[in-house]
Symmetry: C2
Subunit: 536 residues, 2 copies
């Protein structure tokens, strides 16, 4: 399969504009063949039109067929796994083991959503039966369930070239809900995107679905993404990326004549609170775990722990020293893009220049650096300085973290009260620590989507209970998650049918419950069939 | 209980500014004592601060105590029902029977949400158990449930002085989820608002809850509402009102440094499609039902049917004639406010002036009118004119409707494709009509929150399956409803606990399931207790 460098518009190939852009190899800093062409605004419109045309059919495809489609995507992607991982490695410098894991996660996600729609209970079917004898007014038959929103735009993320990209979680959840998807490929891994996109396009064909179910548009800049979010046929979007880009697109979505749901997962510093008991018992293990967590994937995870709060004392000093040693190892990382590397060094340099910040391990640029090379940075400051400088809570995307020392129980509560929204907060403690810090837990619960006890925030389990979300600016809307099966709820809305005869209802709401799904009938959960009215 | 004319700020009475405003009697057009004072911006801040202070306690109140609180509000309001209905009648000109029904609905809603939080299953608890043997990585214990958002602002609606006002559905659902509430009273029924607000304040005291759980602010203008939506301590808002006001506040919420969920229920014309079979079988009953529905409450319902599509033919002509006769009766309605009356006549006058619109019953102003008097207006046009004039689909708030005649099956589909978002769409048909119009149903499903078969859109059942929502501009976000138990989901967000010991988890997520709620455990719905890990 040769790369074409062209967008995928349904079953057609895009022509694009004339200028080529290239993926860059982060190790060498050199461009990779072939050149890719940005989609034109006419192609944006063509993809949106196809997507809208596909909606009426695709939104009515039964759950079991959507499940087969999602599984087909997974097997098609697995069928070219070697090629995909090889290309992704060249485009991202992520090691093969990581990419193999991400490939497994991506296909696992697709199959997980396959299971969700195969079962069908996700549609949150509710039935309130008629009661013609009710006084003063007869009660009507009222039934509701979730239905898809319409064409959804997904923005591929730089840091997960598979799991948050073309066939990643946003795409899987939007397709599972019954929405056609247009992916705006991330320009840092266009080759990976094209390979996966063609596997997805093939699945659309093989499953006999309308071509507009999937398109993939390339763009070296931001025009295509902005135009997609503005397009009147687009009904929702999912985004993972920087706060600046996410907020700009949120604002575009909110300013439309018809505002649309725009879910952005943007920025998070993922504070870690080390409590005294844990520090005594597991000092070294925490240091090793923290170092692995903040440098994993060159620190380019949305869940990277970028703030670590430590009480005063000998154990903290030794933990700090151990972290300093680990962080000073001459390991060099390769950042995903030249821009990410520049931003990382700008953030690190800004932090180094502050008078009350100690740089325990330096991330200076070196003349021997090749490509988008960078090294870890470990900073330390005291909790008072932290509380007085709001910028210290900002995310530095890359392998850097800030130790905030000499915390007291009171100062920790003050920190927690002042925190903005984050994806996660982590507590290392003993059971006794937890009991003594219930107020801290209660405060953190307001600020994050996920609280982790005695673990590390990186490594997000894809499961039913996962919440990869959190109050702004972690995301655009803390009521949703972009990881786990609940991610599907971003792309669906309830529709209510009043007084409908059985044959005109969707299967999910029919009396006999032919799909055997869980439903709320007159306020009670059941998988049983129902009689037509309360009186019957 | 004498009215004070002052805002309620927790357990305190507002002082307000010096200028007084008055409720107006729609029948006489005269002002009603006493005068009310608008809250000051300092009072807005004081209410927000109190609300934020109350959150940490109130958000942790067990479900059964929140249920007792909601029931106490209901019984306190019922305890002053006569006074409330009398005052509301004077302020709104709504007849006693309607207000009695609305009182019953209001208290019923509070008790319904009481039942929801007493049960606790609404929290959508999910548990994915640990599996330490999983390869390549051990699976962590991950649990999630819905938690409240923070202080919520509720805007009282003019057209439901009880059920969508101080202790209405927005307040009930926000309180049920565990959020303190600040109500911005609608200036058209301040006396009703104060009475209900004091009953609610009394319930807060009687239940031993923190005072900031509830405040009620008066304002003759828009400053208080805008400042509330801008206040950094406010985390969500619920609004029912005009599209202009709703969109302005949506934009304020979206432009905040920290954007917040803002649910606005705004405007809807609630199209009604009369299909040939129904027209033959039930022509007169449909005419009578439509007339009652579009004039009920002086047409001041968000679900008023404002568009009626009729095929050509004798039955349509007779239905139209019957509607004309009913609408020409000299019945005079009293609109809620002078402003609503002016807008109604402006809309009616604009429609009358169009060359291809026939005014079958006129709503001209009369020299004998007293107060905010108005009469019904019935217009008719043909479907081509309708399709060529986008403004004809706009809502006229009041007792007016537009018959769109000489539809064909093709034209009806074209209409459905062009429709904006509405709260409801109604189909009158036989089973055979339904079978022949499945494409129409499919198109309408995309445009509305609720589809009604052989009924009328007014009269919204408060139940588990109800959806009072719909795509913009019906609401700000079609993924939610403001009526029915699912309204609680507007004001809650999922929080995930990873690796937490049992004692540190909320009761809803503890192994033993002490509340006996429905939970999703490893992907399966159950009310059973669980063992700690998959292996156990």
């Amino acid at each position: 399969m040769e790369l074409t460098g062209r967008s995928i518009i349904g079953f057609r190939q895009g022509r694009g504009d004339t200028e080529l852009f290239y993926a860059m190899n982060p190790v060498s800093g050199e461009s990779i063949q072939p050149g890719f062409v940005s989609a034109t605004l006419e192609e944006v419109d063509a993809a949106a039109q196809l997507s809208e045309q596909a909606f009426s059919d695709y939104s009515r495809v039964p759950g079991r067929e959507k499940a087969a489609f999602l599984r087909k995507i997974a097997s098609n992607v697995e069928g070219i796994a070697t090629k995909v991982i090889e290309r992704a490695g060249t485009e991202t410098a992520l090691p093969p083991a990581r990419l193999q894991g991400e490939m497994a996660r991506t296909c696992g996600q697709l199959r997980l959503f396959g299971g969700v729609v195969d079962d069908g209970s996700w549609t949150t079917a509710r039935i309130d039966r008629a009661d013609s004898d009710r006084k003063p007014l007869a009660k009507p038959d009222v039934r509701s369930m979730l239905r898809p929103l319409g064409p959804v735009v997904v923005f591929g993320a730089s840091n997960f070239p598979l799991a948050f990209s073309v066939a990643g979680g946003d795409t899987a959840s939007a397709l599972a809900a019954g929405n056609p998807v247009i992916v705006k490929a991330h320009p840092a891994h266009p080759g990976t995107s094209e390979l996966v996109g063609r596997a997805l396009q093939k699945a659309v064909r093989e499953c006999g679905l309308p071509e507009g179910v999937f398109s993939l548009l390339f763009d070296r800049g931001t025009d295509v993404g902005t135009q997609l979010v503005k397009h009147p046929m687009i009904k929702a979007a999912g985004f993972t990326g920087s706060r600046a880009a996410g907020r700009a697109l949120m604002d575009v979505a909110a300013a439309r004549p018809e505002p649309i749901p725009f879910f952005a997962e943007m920025s998070s510093t993922n504070p870690v609170f080390i409590l005294p008991g844990a520090l005594r018992e597991r000092r070294d293990a925490i240091a090793t775990g923290l170092h692995a967590s903040f440098t994993m994937g060159a620190g380019q995870f949305c869940t990277k722990p970028g703030l670590v709060f430590l009480p005063a004392g000998k154990d903290s000093d030794e933990l700090t020293e151990k972290l300093r040693t680990l962080s000073s190892q001459p390991a060099r990382f390769h950042m995903l893009t030249s821009g990410i590397r520049s931003s990382y060094y700008a953030g690190v340099s800004d932090r180094s220049s502050k008078s009350k910040i100690r740089a325990l391990a330096q991330a200076g640029e070196s003349p021997n650096d090749t490509g988008f090379c960078a090294s870890a940075a470990l900073f330390a400051t005291d909790v008072r300085t932290f509380l007085n400088d709001g910028n210290l809570a900002d995310e530095i995307f890359g392998p850097a973290t800030l130790l905030v020392e000499r915390t007291t129980p009171e100062a920790v509560l003050e920190v927690a009260r002042k925190l903005d929204g984050h994806l996660t907060a982590t507590i290392h403690g003993t059971d006794e620590d937890l009991r003594q810090n219930s107020e801290l837990i209660a405060l953190l619960e307001r600020k994050v989507g996920r609280l982790i006890f005695n673990g590390f925030p990186t490594g997000v389990e894809v499961c039913h209970a996962m919440v990869h979300g959190g109050p702004y600016p972690a995301t655009s809307d803390g009521r949703f998650t972009s990881v786990g099966t609940q991610a599907i709820f971003r792309f669906a809305r309830p529709v209510c049918y009043q007084g409908f005869p059985d044959h005109a209802l969707p299967e999910e709401l029919q009396d006999a419950n032919p799909l055997g799904i869980w439903r709320m009938v007159d306020g009670k959960m059941t998988r049983e069939s129902v009689s037509r009215s309360v009186a019957a």
